[in-house]
Symmetry: C2
Subunit: 154 residues, 2 copies
């Protein structure tokens, strides 16, 4: 997704992840702004969860967006279910796209902080249903994180 078609209200490629995300955002009441497009694009292009600082300082912001703006967008997008906020190992919150039907687990180095998405079959799905029933919790989801020392840091 290096070079990319223009995203206006009327220009939509159903195959384009950014278009999908923009549509989902608009359906839920967000306006189509430059900053929104930037934030979504950055999250889509990233192969790992990003912090607020990562995004606000990204070179991929077409026009520099203020931290507060990015913060408010991330907050809204999370509430709307477009992105997810993860609590990892350090103090900062990490954000990642929710791609419909996709679930991700992560491998984090506790020394250098590197984050990798794991491409595994997550065995927690059934358990989740069971827990939902027992606990009466709704809107249940889970995070599975593996922590350890990566080869470089060992």
């Amino acid at each position: 997704m290096a070079k990319h078609h223009v995203h206006t209200k009327t220009s939509r490629d159903p195959e384009c992840l950014l278009c999908q995300a923009l549509d989902r955002s608009r359906e839920r009441g967000l306006r189509m702004t430059k900053a929104l497009e930037d934030v979504l694009r950055i999250l889509i292009e990233s192969n790992k969860p990003l912090t607020l600082a990562d995004i606000a300082e990204s070179k991929n912001l077409s026009s520099q967006a203020d931290r507060a703006t990015v913060y408010r967008l991330l907050t809204k997008l999370e509430k709307l279910g477009v992105i997810r906020r993860l609590g990892l190992h350090d103090r900062a919150a990490y954000y990642t796209m929710i791609f419909p039907g996709e679930h991700n687990d992560y491998l984090v180095c506790t020394a250098c902080g590197s984050i990798d998405r794991l491409h595994i079959e997550c065995p927690v799905g059934e358990l989740e249903d069971e827990i939902a029933k027992k606990s009466k919790f709704t809107q249940l989801y889970h995070e599975l994180m593996f922590f350890g020392l990566c080869p470089k840091c060992a």
Copy 2:
């Protein structure tokens, strides 16, 4: 563990979790101080992970320990592998005892922040071995967290 025997260098009950934790701490070079005993006792008696603030402001501190002191103790204990720091859903870090041979998963309400330990058979153990091999990570462990809305907040 309401009332409790005195914990000195020479008074040890092998059944007592606090004694065990103190021993583990001493073996790893920590001095036996009032604050250390307090922090360990509070963590042992808690049935859920606690924040720095929870501990520093706990009524169970025999003598008020400074935040910085508690912070440094928690940091050391984590490095020494006596306690574990969890990244949950809000900004603060949560700490919990590591009881040898025990593994815990958590159920967190994203609205009110309540945290419950889950007493389930965690299906991730085998997966962990597999990931350790593939990734070459060492000292691997995992956190499995379920998030959702509790019945009160739904």
